[in-house]
Amino acid sequence: MNAPAPSSPPETEIVIKASSAWFTIDWRGLLAYRDLLRQLIQRDFTARYKQTILGPTWFFFNPVVTTLTFTLVFNKVIGVPTDGVPPMLFYLCGMLGWSYFAAVLGNTGNSLAGSAALFSKVYFPRLIPPLALTVSSMFALGIQFLTFFVFFARAHWFTATPTLPAPGLLWLAFPAIVLHMAVLALGVGLILSTLTAKYRDLNHIQGYLIQLWMYATPVIYPLSRVPEKWRWIAELNPVTPIVEASRRIFLGVGTVDPSRYAQSVAAAVVIFLVGVFAYQRAARTFVDTV
């Protein structure tokens, strides 16, 4: 008599139980849902500018208008110096190192509470929405960079600003800085969204937090203007070396201490790991408290 054919081995076996492991990233799940990641990235910028007349040109307006404001208010009226660089370029470059960070932080800071409706109906790796936001915000950064480049080119080739270095190989270091910013911003955003899920009041504070953080970062003033005595405090802020490094790369000014920069990278990695851990832990039973 024939033995019954053994059933084919299952392709996937999913075990559901109360989690005991305290740090896991579901790599397989993230891989399986990579199309969702792509869709969300795409959705983020198509949906944002649907029905606006200027469409994605808004990405271009934002940095220009902000920079003009800074130039007018901080440089012309208050008289904050700009390390000897034309103020427009100085601010545009500072914003290169800040805007993306602020955008990612602002967008991911509410990932949990903001997606409650979706999270309570469907399962997918919960890290996907903040990851998608981190990537889709790079689009704005790209346009911002182009804006900067237009002003840079004008200053360098047409008005021949003598202090401005020519574009060089150093520029290639910028993607690494972007990655650094992404990791740091996502980490802080995840921690923030974990806290916001529990204490909803934080949702109202986030805007101020980002604004205050900007003033604590040398975006509208050069780090060199911070008295030597206090500089270490400014450098505790992990975004400071990022902004200063971008100015060093593009404008040849900026105070970058390699050990401080390494410190900032280490901080980014630690914050990111803590963020992922806290976020995933909160996401597991978050829907129970909605």
Partner: protein
């Protein structure tokens, strides 16, 4: 028997009551304070379990590959919690589940659409949210569009869709998922009746033709009966083992949330002050075995009390759907057959050889009167469930209100 595709072992889920929403910072600080004080004084901190609520307790059962298993239970029995755990939306407090295959769930279909995006974009987005790859969605795109009946509006943002179109499109995407295990919750509550029937047909296709495993949660006994052979009954967080669907439905009917079948109505408030003074209902009770069952004998008794002798009397009984539409009236004075009520307590009994009402909940009203004058009337004094029975193979054919069997002759011409 092959290995079960789903093994559920001792699953429990605890919720904290009162903590729904956000804990305020102050509450957390207070709790920490309590804990510290208890520690300092050397006692173990007393666990605060007054507010614990166990939605599921030690639930265990297996599901075999290719099976369509129904899960029924009244509201709050833990059905949704179980499905949420199975579809990994939340974690159990204890226990373990093994799923041997990919899982797709349809828990309320209308989520995951982006209002600004067109129907076309949303099909891809929703597909991705449900775990389909872009290629998979592309392959099924035409099928999804045809099923949803919104071809003409594919490039319109879904925020301009009617709610019906929205739901149809959402269900169409979800229905074309191809996981090994499909989890379905109350989808049939969407769309008009015609679309509901289409959905039911699609679910049947999924489970019967493609041999996938389906877990189906519904209040809709007709749908459960059509889709499932076996069924689990959940009651206050405890689960029965899988049992034959007819047995399960009977068991569910027995402990469904309806009114008791014997009701003391003497003290109920009447809508008019004068009603019930001369004569009134004291008790109304369904006395047929098994209660109210579609197409089975039905009997009800009224206990009536009167102070005076009353002539030309009648008793009436009305069944309304939960939407408030009267669907069946039983009056004792049909054909002018009135009766005389003597002073004292009297029992009146109605008998129907077959109850024609389709399974479902009904609001019941009763009246005691003479001609146009009512001595007593009770509107909606009970919510009774008409249930299906093992012998019922007709009521799931359609969604009509009631059904009687005509006498018929067949003759060759």
């Amino acid at each position: 028997m092959s290995r079960p595709i789903i093994e559920i072992r001792g699953i429990s889920k605890k919720y904290r009551l009162g903590q729904i929403g956000m804990t305020s910072l102050r509450e957390d600080v207070e709790r920490l304070g309590h804990w510290c004080r208890a520690r300092l004084s050397g006692r173990a901190p007393a666990p605060d379990n007054r507010r614990d609520f166990w939605a599921l307790r030690d639930v265990s059962f297996d599901v075999q590959p290719g099976e369509a298993l129904g899960i029924i239970g009244r509201n709050g029995a833990g059905k949704s919690t179980l499905l949420k755990i199975l579809s990994r939306i939340t974690e159990p407090t204890g226990g373990e589940i093994r799923l041997r295959g990919t899982v797709g769930s349809l828990l309320e279909v209308g989520t995951g659409f982006h209002p600004e995006l067109s129907g076309r974009d949303n099909i891809f987005l929703k597909g991705a949210i449900l775990g389909m790859t872009r290629a998979e969605v592309a392959r099924k795109f035409d099928e999804i569009v045809a099923f949803s009946e919104v071809e003409r509006f594919l490039d319109t943002p879904v925020k301009r869709y009617s709610s019906g179109m929205y739901v149809r499109l959402a269900f169409a995407v979800a229905a074309h998922l191809e996981p090994d295990i499909l989890i379905v919750d109350e989808v049939l509550a969407v769309g008009d009746q015609q679309f509901q029937r289409k959905c039911l047909g699609k679910m049947q296709d999924v489970s019967v033709r493609s041999g996938r495993t389906v877990l189906f949660v519904s209040h809709h006994m007709t749908a459960i009966r059509r889709l499932c052979r076996r069924c689990v009954v959940l009651d206050a967080g405890h689960a029965s083992g899988p049992m034959d669907v007819d047995v399960a439905i009977e068991r569910y009917a027995q402990d469904s949330g309806a009114s008791p079948l014997r009701l003391d109505v003497a003290a109920l408030e009447r809508s008019h002050g004068t009603e019930g003074r001369v004569a009134r209902f004291r008790e109304i009770a369904v006395v047929s075995p098994g209660g109210l069952r579609f197409n089975q004998p039905f009997a009800i008794e009224f206990v009536v009390e009167s102070r005076e002798p009353l002539d030309n009397m009648m008793v009436g009984l009305g069944f309304k759907t939960v939407d408030g539409q009267r669907i069946l009236t039983l009056d004792s004075d049909g054909g002018g057959r009135t009766f005389t009520l003597r002073p004292g307590v009297t029992r009146i009994r109605f008998d129907l050889p077959r109850l024609p009402l389709h399974p479902g909940p009904y609001r019941i009203g009763a009246a005691l009167g003479s001609g146009r004058h009512f001595y007593d009337s009770l509107d909606g004094f009970a919510l009774w469930d008409v249930v299906t029975s093992v012998q019922d193979h007709e009521s799931d054919r359609s969604f009509g209100g009631c059904r009687i069997e005509p006498a018929f002759t067949v003759s060759a011409i």
